[in-house]
Amino acid sequence: MKSIRTLLTLLMAGAIGLFHAQAFAQTIKIGVINTYSGPNASLGDIMDKGMKLYMKQNEKRLPPGVKIELVIRDDGGANPDKAKQLAQELIVRDKVQILTGLIWTPNAAAIAPLATEAKLPVVIMNAGTSSITTMSPYFARVSFTLWQSSFPTGTWAAKKYKRAYIAVSDFGPGIDAENAFEKAFRDGGGEIVGKVRIPLANPDFVPFIQRAKDAKPEVLFAFIPAGPQATQIMKAYNDLGLAKSGVKFIGPGDLTPDDELPNMGDAPLGVYTVHHYSAASTRPANKSFIAAWKKEYGEKSTPSFMSVGAWDGMDAIYQLIIDQKGKIDGDQSMISLRGYKNANSPRGPISIDPLTRDIVQNEYLREVRKVGGKLANVEIETVATAIKDPWKEINKK
């Protein structure tokens, strides 16, 4: 017994020593909670690449003597209690000063009380349910909301089609997408002929798409989490021959993420989506971003809107570090984030709304076309300029 105690004490002493050694080196620890295992592991990977590319390119922007260390943790998917436990450990054990990542809405929602209690600035790089930023005053979002993309989709679709069917994943973002599209489409005089919610975990899309087909709409609006599910739903759409029966397929950009397009065959040709970012965009800032990406990760690798979320998230984090000269304080960080602006993001001009701490950006209508033999989301027009989250705007009134 005695020897075990001595051993434990020694181990502890060693651990404390390590902590001290690190504290002196002016290292800012950033906790990253993302998905690196399970069916959605590719999402964590593509966001990691975005973060690391940014850090590599912008090392010199940091104040002298300041270093950044990423403390990366795997949540395994939409796993709110796991995310909460990881956040707790990152705060208590690893003493991170900033938290980021967060692909999934449920995970972000779960850590909101912790962020508030620990006064820890959290930069949300993906999770897109509108209500998230209202859950903690220490949340700021650089990604998107589903209302931002689905509301303009509805407005645009109502001008071309009269009968729509809605299929969404049965969780926060899906329900947001459904509500946003339905409201805009109805306001524009369209009719919703039916809707269905698809379970988030391990869905088989065929029966759901079949129901959509049976309802004979002119247009099918769908949201699923970007990633492997996008390819699966596209396959179901193709296999059931909806395009041949004259049903158009539309949705937010999650339906045709740039990194999944190469896996989809020719199925998505002619699919219209509305989103804030396309890798095929010809903006100069995007061209240099794509060039840097291909140089770092190879010709075959394509960034997606999630990579850009990660890239811009790191930009916002760098900005708050620079604003505070490397001494991170929760409230000061939030002041810095509230004033965040970047006219030259790969996705165009973006800023964070000082009132809601949510992203303000442009939304583009895109069509999947073949460019140089490869599928690409070709931007056709800007359907919304500097759009704030419509859900918050509507509910304000």
């Binding site: 434990l8 690196y36 964590g44 990977d45 943790r73 796993n79 209690d81 796991k82 707790q88 929602a109």
Partner: protein
């Protein structure tokens, strides 16, 4: 049978000195590892869950793949009481969770315990899936796939607030685990426990001697369900969040794996398994966030191949070898 094995009715029921080891380690960890208390509390919760599983798998021989149903019901009961009904007292929630999970145990047990072997296993799997789907669909109560947020837990006994560092969580879970352990230990060494072992070893013979086999099985199934419900409530209270994965098949499977890792049918296997599994997981996930499943998998293969009877089986053999060495 090794000396760490909690025997049965015929075995000596007096406490042995080794049985104080887990508690001493737990108390030492509280003082020596203050930064790991949140992990510690989770381990204690899963020990309680494993203990409930050991009661039916190890002692009654009912192999189940749906035990998370009871854990999940307990977790949701506590969560819904707080988020929807405003009842925030942890002990009231705990009792309510135990009762609801126990009742579900009686109802489902009454159906599935009429079967045996593979059929029984299939039924537990089916009931687990039904519970998962109910939790997913009843989103006005459970929050569905988004999870149940907005849970506030009042201080324990009106005194001890749940803090960010997990001190309260840890001690609270430790206290509940201690009470449950004491109860399980009494149960296992009682005539009831002996009849369970009888059912496991020779079902027909127990029928032949006139033991009420079905009722005994039902009783232990319900008790185990209630204990799992307690564990679920503890998870809700310490994490103040309930996600769908508390009722998932993955959790049932993972629990079984932890129990086998520790050693089945020996009470303390349920202590060793979750501790080893979760500490390994914690360390591996820290070192290799992208590949940590590989490490866990390798650990399991090694244990199953080379350490029959789990971690405790290994300890048994080491102890007996040292004992022999001394005698010679």
């Amino acid at each position: 049978m090794g000396n760490l094995h909690a025997g049965g009715y015929s075995a000596n029921a007096a406490l042995r000195w080794q049985e104080s080891l887990p508690w001493l380690v737990a108390i030492a960890a509280f003082f020596l590892l203050p930064e790991f208390l949140n992990l510690g509390a989770r381990i204690l919760i899963f020990i309680l869950f494993a203990l409930s599983l050991d009661l039916i798998v190890g002692y009654a021989g009912i192999v189940t793949l749906g035990h998370a149903a009871f854990f999940g019901l307990g977790a949701y009961t506590a969560g819904i009481l707080s988020a929807r009904a405003g009842i925030n007292d942890p002990l009231i929630q705990l009792v309510a969770s135990g009762v609801t999970a126990g009742l579900l145990g009686v109802v489902t047990g009454a159906i599935i315990l009429r079967t045996r072997g593979l059929a029984l296993m299939m039924l537990t799997l089916a009931i687990g899936s039904i519970c998962l789907e109910v939790a997913n669909k009843a989103s006005s109560l459970t929050g569905g796939a988004d999870g149940l947020a907005g849970i506030t837990i009042a201080p324990v006994l009106g005194q001890f607030r749940f803090d960010l560092y997990g001190k309260t969580s840890y001690l609270y879970c430790l206290a509940i685990l201690f009470v449950c352990w004491w109860f399980v230990r009494r149960l296992v060494y009682s005539p009831f426990g002996a009849s369970l072992a009888g059912i496991r070893e020779n079902n027909l013979r127990m029928h032949a001697i006139g033991a009420p086999v079905y009722l005994r099985m039902l009783a232990v199934y319900a008790i185990s369900a209630a204990l799992a419900g307690f564990a679920g409530a503890l998870l809700t209270q310490t994490s103040q969040f309930v996600g769908l994965n508390v009722v998932s098949f993955e959790l049932s499977g993972e629990m079984l794996v932890m129990l086998i890792l520790g050693g089945v049918g020996r009470i303390y296997g349920a202590f060793a398994g979750p501790a080893v599994y979760m500490i390994a997981q914690d360390q591996l996930a820290k070192q290799f966030p992208e590949y940590w499943y590989l490490g866990i998998g390798s650990l399991l293969v090694i244990v199953v191949l080379f350490a029959k009877g789990g971690v405790l089986g290994l300890v048994d053999r080491m102890v007996s070898r040292i004992g022999k060495g001394r005698r010679s």
